[in-house]
Amino acid sequence: MSKVRVLVGTRKGAFVLTSDGKRERWDVSGPHFGGWELYHLKGSPADPNRLYASQSTGWHGQLIQRSDDGGQTWEPVGNKFVYDGVPGTHQWYDGKPHPWEFKRVWHLEPSLTDPDTVYAGVEDAALFRSTDGGQTWQELAGLRGHGSGPQWQPGAGGMCLHTILLDPSDPARIFIAISAAGAFRTDDSGQTWKPINRGLYSQYIPVPTAEVGHCVHRIAMHKSRPAVLFMQKHWDVMRSDDAGDSWHEVSGNLPTDFGFVIDVNANEPETIYVVPITSDSLHYPPEGKLRVYRSRTGGNEWEALTKGLPQSDCYVNVLRDAMAVDSLDACGVYFGTTGGQVYASADGGDNWAAIVRDLPAVLSVEVQTLP
């Protein structure tokens, strides 16, 4: 029977949850790296026992940890992230030029085919790659150097590169997203990049339709249709059917189109999930009701999923990297909250249960479906 491994990054350590394919009973191990912030952990699709973790604190900076046994043991690997050449400047909150400064790794994306190749999205926004299992890191500098970099500005959470999507049908194509610059795509393995923000409308920037400056919170794709992208923006849920060349809004009947996470059902490419959050100034669910919204039509028509989720006095947030799906049939959907719960549904979202609660605030959730 298949197994599922859930990798949870929190403000004070990492946790690994495992279950069989029924996904009813869960073993919890952790905290790993107790006391450190674990922004993200992710396993290699090419070798499920190869895991990478981003570990940091304000005291001691950034570490990258690697496991070769599915998270039972870990070893620190390279943590030297140096921008290529003269780093240059981006805009600061006051609109003045500010030098690029490395702060932390937000997201690690292992290669689809090579366990030793992994990408790192960092703050201040840049994309790094390691081809030696995380021992050394090189910046893909064409992203910051493509021209609009000096116009990028941090969002409230910092200027982070938080989303990395590798196209399973084209090894040279990568999508990334930055708060608050927008989405970008390379078609030549990271040598050159272009903004892909046409169709986005953001009232909080001087030119709402600008080429860059949009606060993209998350992008998701289904591996069978890599040209179809779904985006949770600061406000608005968006869809692209042409690999990001253009976007249109699919917020439809959502109670609010602000939020952070978005993901796609592993078995149904038109079934997508979001967790609406009240607003940019009220980072908790509307009416104190934690509701996942599901669209089976690729957007616009949404239904609230509430069974097993708190429907009163709930004021947690669900951060941008804190939702994932497994690839079992029926698809399992998972998300973590700033209140320390990880909720799971083993039936595509119809019913939910907390598979662990009272963890530190959850920063990220990833899922591995194991043979």
Partner: protein, 98 residues
């Protein structure tokens, strides 16, 4: 023999308990102590001082003989009591909340 006391997070990272003991040839300074520390425990590179600039990380402090050496030159000789091993060189995580 130089004695170095690390904060808990770094002892865990380096898989050590208690003090670190280092042999240093030549002048005993912050730089030579940290060079020797990182040579013995490469996983500590970047956690006490910046990889490139070699500057002390902002929330790390250096104490020795009940004095704060955090703002001293990294090439200034440390007290004789540290150089002789009678007193430890303390690497401390600053009180910074969290």
């Amino acid at each position: 023999m130089i004695r170095v006391m690390l904060p808990g997070h770094l002892r865990t990272l380096a898989k050590i308990s208690g003090e670190v003991k280092l042999e240093i040839a030549g002048p005993v300074t912050q730089r030579s102590v940290l060079d020797a520390l990182e040579a013995c425990y490469p996983m500590l590179c970047g956690t006490v001082r910046d990889h490139v600039t070699q500057q002390r990380r902002p929330f790390v402090r250096f104490f020795a003989c009940e004095e704060d050496w955090s703002h001293a030159s990294p090439d200034a000789p440390l007290p004789e009591a540290v150089a002789s091993g009678r007193e430890p060189f303390l690497v401390v995580g600053a009180i910074a909340g969290g």
